[in-house]
């Protein structure tokens, strides 16, 4: 994915994202998928403060770095127990036990895996514009039951 000139895009998209990005000084953005074979893990996003495409060499570097990241993610996660994200992969600074407790409860309530329970929790928090921790507290104290 590439958008070398966010202010004059070839394709008008990202209505929520572009204005904010431009305000912050982003003029170009390039995305490289982070994947291993068919398994897509995420994306490496590169931002630039002036418009223009990546050179061939830069593009090749981006592909190589995305591959390295994919391999590192796989090996970091391989060392972690099932259903738990490897600590090395966590970016958030606020860890809440209640989120894990809630995921356990939801997995039983909905008959899904703990991983899926985490996704449902996040989806609920996002769609109700609340923090994950707040929603988790409500689940744990049984004020809220996801369906």
């Amino acid at each position: 994915m590439r958008e070398p000139d966010l202010a004059n895009p070839s394709l008008v998209r990202w209505f929520a994202f572009s204005p904010h990005a431009l305000e912050l000084g982003v003029s170009a953005i390039f995305g490289f998928p982070v994947r291993v074979g068919a398994a897509r893990l995420g994306a490496l996003n590169l931002y630039r403060d002036h418009p223009g495409p990546l050179t061939d060499a830069q593009h090749a570097d981006g592909l190589a770095i995305a591959d390295m990241i994919a391999l590192w993610v796989i090996s970091a996660q391989a060392a972690a127990p099932d259903g738990v994200m490897a600590l090395e992969l966590e970016a958030g600074s606020h860890f809440h036990f209640a989120v894990e407790n809630a995921a356990g409860m939801i997995s039983v309530q909905l008959g899904v895996s703990v991983t899926e329970a985490h996704v449902r929790l996040r989806a609920y928090a996002f769609s109700h514009n609340r923090t994950l921790a707040e929603v988790a507290e409500d689940v744990v104290t049984r004020k809220l039951r996801l369906s």
Partner: protein, 249 residues
């Protein structure tokens, strides 16, 4: 036979913890027991052990109390508090009486005082040149610990540090980081299992942990294994029923 003196209890605690360390053990389970013993033997109100993540963030591994207020106090300490200071400086945070009108730990102090704690102390978990975490002690009165108490507390802190180094060469920092991550990850599994059991047995989270530990004891299984089985649904649900009132430790 007379009940054990405090000295006898302290010696017995160290021997028992050391015995666990040379056998196959579960870090979270051992450190929960260590935290309980700190409370009993040091005459304090609550204790907890925090470990560092690979990114240098402090997280709770085990504590003497599952009460939400206490857990919250440890969560706060990833941002501010005696544990963070001890961890960053590698020096003990000796007895500190908490006050609301203070610039030191302003958020943490307020929450701790609300929870009924009046003083705190934190000992760094030191391993040669690095600090891998901290042992936190809370008291509901402002009385400082005696010098002997501090020596005993340091002994517990050292045991907590040693628990991070399971087998093999102790000098590899990579191994230490792996062990810390592994302990913190197993804590996450236990928290998920608490949720699962809480829902299956329709009990609160704290009681769920009691049942988890009790089941592990009664069946001579590692806590982390029981937790994994609970999540996977491979344990008999009847396991969560209260079958005896035997204390967990």
């Amino acid at each position: 036979m007379a009940p054990p003196t405090r000295d006898q209890s302290i010696i017995e605690s160290f021997i028992k913890l050391a015995d666990n360390l040379v056998a196959d053990f579960d870090v979270v389970d051992l450190l929960t027991g260590l935290s309980d013993r700190c409370v009993r033997l040091l005459g304090i109100s609550a204790a907890g052990v925090m470990f560092s993540t690979p990114a240098g963030q402090l997280r709770l591994v085990a504590s003497s109390s599952e009460a939400m207020q206490v857990v919250e106090l440890f969560e706060l300490q990833s941002q501010e508090g005696p544990c963070l200071d001890a961890f960053r400086t590698g020096l003990p945070v000796a007895h500190e009486v908490l006050r609301r009108d203070t610039s030191r730990w302003s958020s943490f102090s307020g929450v701790a005082l609300d929870a009924g704690f009046e003083s705190v102390c934190a000992l760094p978990l030191r391993l040669r040149d690095t600090t891998v975490g901290a042992l936190n002690l809370f008291n509901m009165n402002p009385t400082p610990m005696t010098d002997v108490d501090l020596i005993v507390a340091q002994g517990f802190a050292d045991l907590a540090t040693i628990s991070v180094l399971q087998h093999g060469a102790m000098s590899e920092s990579q191994r230490v980081r792996e062990q810390l991550s592994s302990a913190l990850a197993s804590r996450v599994v236990i928290e998920q299992a608490k949720g699962v059991i809480s829902e299956r047995a329709q009990v609160n989270i704290g009681e769920a942990f009691v049942r988890l530990r009790r089941y592990a004891r009664a069946n001579n299984m590692l806590l982390s294994r029981v937790a994994q089985a609970a999540i996977a649904g491979t344990l008999d649900p009847a396991a969560w029923e209260v079958t005896s009132e035997a204390p967990v430790d």
